[in-house]
Amino acid sequence: MNVVITGLGATTPLGGDVPSTWEAALAGKSGVRTLEYDWVEKYRVPITIAGQLVVRPDEVLTRPEMKRMDPMSQYAIVATREAWTDAGSPEVDPLRLGTVVSTGIGGVWTMLDAWDTVRDRGPERVLPLSVPMLMPNSATAYVELELGAKAGAHAVVSACASGAEALAVAYDMIQSGRADIVVAGGTEAAIHPLPISTFAAMKTLSKRLDDPERASRPYDVDRDGFVLGEGAAVMVLESEEHAVARGARIRARLLGTGRTADGYHIAAPEPTGDGQKRAMLAAVEQAGLTLADISHINAHATSTPVGDPIEARGIRDLLGGHTDDVLVSATKSMTGHLLGGAGALESVFTIKALEDRKAPPTINVDNPDPDLAINLVRNTPGALPASGDLAAINNSFGFGGHNVALVFGSA
């Protein structure tokens, strides 16, 4: 059973939908800005920059919708509506429709607001919808309700790999015959004092606060940590048979998935990159391809001193003599790290790269790490082969040693 993608949706630090996000990405724009919330000063938040949405949900959702959803679900619904419309708002038997919308952290805003209420105003003031809003499956559940999906609604959690893993689960749902259409992706709304403080306490965030747009710099020698981002990306995955039967426009194919674990450390990647390589190989193998067929990789590359080289070396080890032929893009340089949303957004970028035959740039690489030796697309988009079917890998690696690689192919 072939799995194809028939709709894309996103709300990101580069734009309120996929076209504007992609246009900004090709232009090498940065979505990272200084935080302007009053809580920054109030709580002396140590990191004051993040990739923030261009279009806030209150610009597109109604007030009742806003009130019954945590921001992470709001973002997911915005992206879902775009994706569903993009797919042609398909008619599908609800029993053959599923959802897999993941998040890394869940409804942190709701959880913490409810705790503030308990402490400051008493338990009787806590709003009844707090649990449905804060639970990590809330995003997938609201998408399920939005679409009336009955085949299954899932939310797989693997930190920064959650959004990619959601797509892998959706792939399995269709392949195994559980559903004809699965709406899948990832979301995160964690730009809040607590997550910022805890990531900062791990010394994992960039401190380049005076120059926000240049702080996220994967593969640059002066990279000093990642930049948090927020947003959601959702896509409509479908069996090719179902898509063709309804005359849908096929945007790309999900050809294979690879998922492994490092068995090493709760946050640091295993230094040999073995788990990451195994994931990439598994995805390529499931796709029925070889590494020689790959022309583009959207790297996980978060801009951390330790993480970037492990992935780059792994890519080099795998590609060998083919390394120069594969254009690698590190798009977190522009969006920041969307945590649970990253794997899904970067899959959207991978699909767009295949459609337009252009690999997006990696910005802020003023001085490439000398250990790099991969073909990194810098500053301006890189041209992918002008004809023939293309295949690309999207990598996502999460705290806890979760490695997810997805192979996408041309429509």
Binding site: P64, K67, R121, R125, V126, L129
Partner: protein, 81 residues
């Protein structure tokens, strides 16, 4: 000090409108929460919680089932001290 009924209706209508998106003008005394305004149990709980805070009253759980119409709720709240 008990609240006058028309004031209670106005504020309650605002709370219900925020929760449901229904226009305040449609939230009249004779409207049933479930049958006319299509309010489910979770939304009703939310409205009760917000009303308790707004009017500084207690609406016990066992009382909520008696509040079938908007008017029932308005009268109950207005009668509290």
């Amino acid at each position: 000090m008990a609240h006058p009924e028309n004031e209670v209706l106005a504020h309650l209508a605002e709370i219900v409108s925020e929760e449901t998106g229904i226009d305040t003008a449609e939230i009249q005394m004779d409207k049933s929460f479930t049958d006319d305004l299509d309010i489910d149990s979770l939304s009703m709980m939310t409205i009760v919680t917000l009303a308790e805070e707004k009017f500084d009253v207690r609406i016990p759980d066992e009382e909520v089932k008696n509040l079938v119409t908007v008017g029932d709720a308005v009268k109950f709240i207005a009668a509290q001290d």
